[in-house]
């Protein structure tokens, strides 16, 4: 394997290592749950992305085939990560935050964990 490829792979691995670390450090440093959500949802997308890019390059240089698994992993991550974050945020709000701590929705209906949806739209 030539030096340029090795260098490129190393750079991506180091980048992803840094962002993975910052994501975990954010969990320790930030003080409330909603703030903590920011650290893993973002810092880990680039953290994981860096490893996947390094993996694609490594297998391309090593075997000569382009591996698509890494792209699928990132696709599935992009589909699942926001949903997990959303569920955690909602569960946290429902258990710990009274309605008056949140800004009003400025609509006829309030936020969904405090207010029922309009008639007939619950199963939309």
């Amino acid at each position: 394997m030539d030096v340029a490829a090795e260098l490129l792979i190393s750079v991506f691995l180091v980048i992803s290592g840094i962002f993975g670390f910052v994501g975990s450090y954010g969990l320790v440093k930030l003080k409330n749950t909603v703030q903590r959500l920011h650290a893993p949802t973002k810092a880990t997308t680039l953290g994981v992305g860096g490893v996947l890019l390094a993996s694609i390059i490594f297998f391309y240089v090593d075997t000569g085939h382009v591996s698509v698994h890494e792209l699928l992993i990132s696709l599935f991550l992009f589909l699942t990560a926001p949903i997990t974050a959303n569920f955690i945020a909602k569960a946290y709000l429902a258990r710990n935050t009274p309605q008056d701590e949140l800004p009003p929705s400025d609509r006829d209906f309030g936020w969904s964990i405090y207010d029922d949806p309009p008639d007939g739209e619950a199963d939309r």
């Binding site: 930030l30 409330n32 992009f78 974050a85 945020a89 929705s105 400025d106 609509r107 309030g110 936020w111």
Partner: protein
């Protein structure tokens, strides 16, 4: 006839591509098997999506994906800087309600996902009638500009994709 055989061409295409990606080698056998999945799965699950959205202007999707990917990279750096170099009491988080012009559930889902993946924002919940979204911003001094940026950068593009 063709619409009954392939009720959801985009889903079929996605299934074929994902199948080929999963097996990771392109052979005729895998292509046929993938096509079979692409035909059967949409037929079997057709009952679960009675009024699926129509996509207009597919090229806008590519533009949207590129914009979002770029924003994710920028977001990672920004959030990392906030986490590493800002003292904890100086982090000013805000709840930002954003009124939505998007109507379809799919478009709102994409927007909520995008907001969660990009610059220091997490989407928390919708108003009960789906007309507004509550966003948590990790650190900002100007909540209004965050709202305007989300509306002009993402929602405007999504409105063109999901008419």
């Amino acid at each position: 006839m063709l619409t009954r055989l392939v009720p959801h061409p985009l889903l079929s295409l996605t299934l074929v591509l994902v199948w080929l990606g999963l097996v990771n080698t392109f052979t005729l056998g895998n292509l046929i098997l993938g096509t079979l999945f692409g035909l059967i799965i949409p037929m079997v699950t057709a009952a679960y999506w009675p009024n699926r959205p129509r996509l207009a202007r597919p090229f806008k999707i590519i533009e949207y994906v590129l914009v979002v990917l770029w924003d994710i990279i920028v977001a990672n750096v920004q959030v990392a800087m906030i986490i590493l170099f800002r003292r904890e009491p100086d982090i000013r988080s805000h709840w930002i309600p954003i009124p939505l012009d998007l109507k379809s559930a799919e478009a709102i889902t994409v927007l909520a996902g995008t907001i969660t993946m990009t610059p220091g924002t997490v989407s928390a919940m919708l108003a009960a009638d789906g007309g507004a979204i509550l966003v948590h911003c990790l650190h900002t001094d100007d909540p209004d500009s965050v709202r305007d940026e989300i509306k002009s950068r993402y929602e405007r593009r999504l409105k063109e994709i999901f008419p």
